[in-house]
Symmetry: C2
Subunit: 234 residues, 2 copies
């Protein structure tokens, strides 16, 4: 009987994922086929992201990307940049009209390491954890500026999963800069739930004068929360 009870949510999931309800024995088939699908998708990703070799080995590159910190230029491919970002596509298109056509794009907001990480992501669709952790803020801003939704989502997911008392103010700030609603709401809620820790921290003293409008939003969110708690008798 207990086992039967446990099956109910599985059946619900079948329904949720539009899978015809079947006897439990067929579940094995379904699990195996899901693993096969996952393997196939991973193989395709490995094939597609193989393009990163052309970046690493600088094969037939046709554009130089200049970081903002006066570091050396990084060679890349116009076609790849244009395919990943409409902003790059337009920048590269308009180049053709100028005389002489420029073969360099400057990204003033990124230093050498950040630019390298951005490019690695654009070629491979992925980034090692350490690079992501180090550069997530600048990559999130770059994703917003150059309109690369998949990178935005990639960074957003990382920021949501790593949100804690010591980084919540940075995350609130950046979510405001990039107008990311989900991230901003999550950060504000977190602050309200940990109001004392945040507001009495040294970080908040630096944050508040730099972002007065966010200071106001934090105070208001806290008041609204207290009020609703009073009304609900919590």
């Amino acid at each position: 009987m207990m086992v039967k009870e446990a099956i109910k949510p599985v059946m619900f999931l079948f329904h949720l994922h539009k899978i015809r309800p079947q006897p439990l024995a067929n579940l094995t088939k379904w699990i195996t086929s899901m693993k096969d699908i996952e393997d196939d998708l991973n193989k395709k990703i490995s094939f597609l992201s193989g393009l990163v070799v052309a970046f690493r080995d600088q094969i037939h590159t046709d554009i130089q990307l200049k970081p903002g910190n006066h570091g050396p230029c990084i060679p890349a491919h116009k076609a790849l940049l244009a395919a990943r970002s409409e902003i790059f596509r337009n920048m590269l298109d308009s180049d053709g009209c100028k005389a002489p056509p420029s073969d360099t794009i400057t990204l003033p907001e990124l230093n050498t390491e950040e630019l390298e990480s951005l490019l690695e992501f654009l070629y491979s669709g992925n980034l090692p954890f350490d690079k992501l952790e180090k550069h997530v803020y600048s990559l999130f801003v770059a994703a917003d500026k150059y309109e690369i939704p998949y990178l935005q989502e990639f960074c957003e997911r990382f920021l949501l999963s790593s949100l804690n008392a010591s980084n919540v103010l940075e995350i609130l700030e950046i979510s405001d800069v990039c107008s990311n609603k989900t991230l901003k709401e999550t950060a504000l809620n977190f602050i309200v739930r940990n109001m004392e820790d945040v507001v009495f921290s040294a970080k908040y003293e630096v944050f508040a004068p730099k972002n007065p409008h966010l200071g106001v939003q934090i105070t208001r969110a806290f008041l609204m929360d207290s009020k609703s708690k009073r009304i609900n008798g919590v």
Copy 2:
């Protein structure tokens, strides 16, 4: 009791996929997380295969590919070709030594449509069913010649799934040309099981003189099969 029996293979699958055995209720969590993984992988594929836009819109192309049927050249990107195939990479590298460096590669074995399909696959990692069905033989040979294992596997899977009495001789022939063991064995087994249909067909009359060594292999495989059936008393 019946339900409990049905769970056994599920538990075995957990073991197979190195998942810690858990109460059945946790299965729902696992199924949801597998669906999430699948969604994530599909988003990444969509991001990575977006490069096909650079091919379709001919953005910043730097090489012309010439089909074997005197059709018009198709513009593409050296870096992409080099990343997808070592053979292309070497062809493009050695070009630099020649004077003047050639900006055209001829693929004599492919006609215009076949070459377009090959390129679409190299950029996107995929091909619509109708194009795959139409060009699978030439793509399979091209995958072998230009050493593109993922395309070989893609074609192999299609050929295995579409194997029937009317195409088995073509599939045997091509598996022999490309030295594909799995495909060749499957085709030979199919022929042995449907020996009369195949050997008395009009196709076989054309096939046998063109591929005498395969004719010998078919006859031998049939004899071995008959012998083993006799020994086993089937």
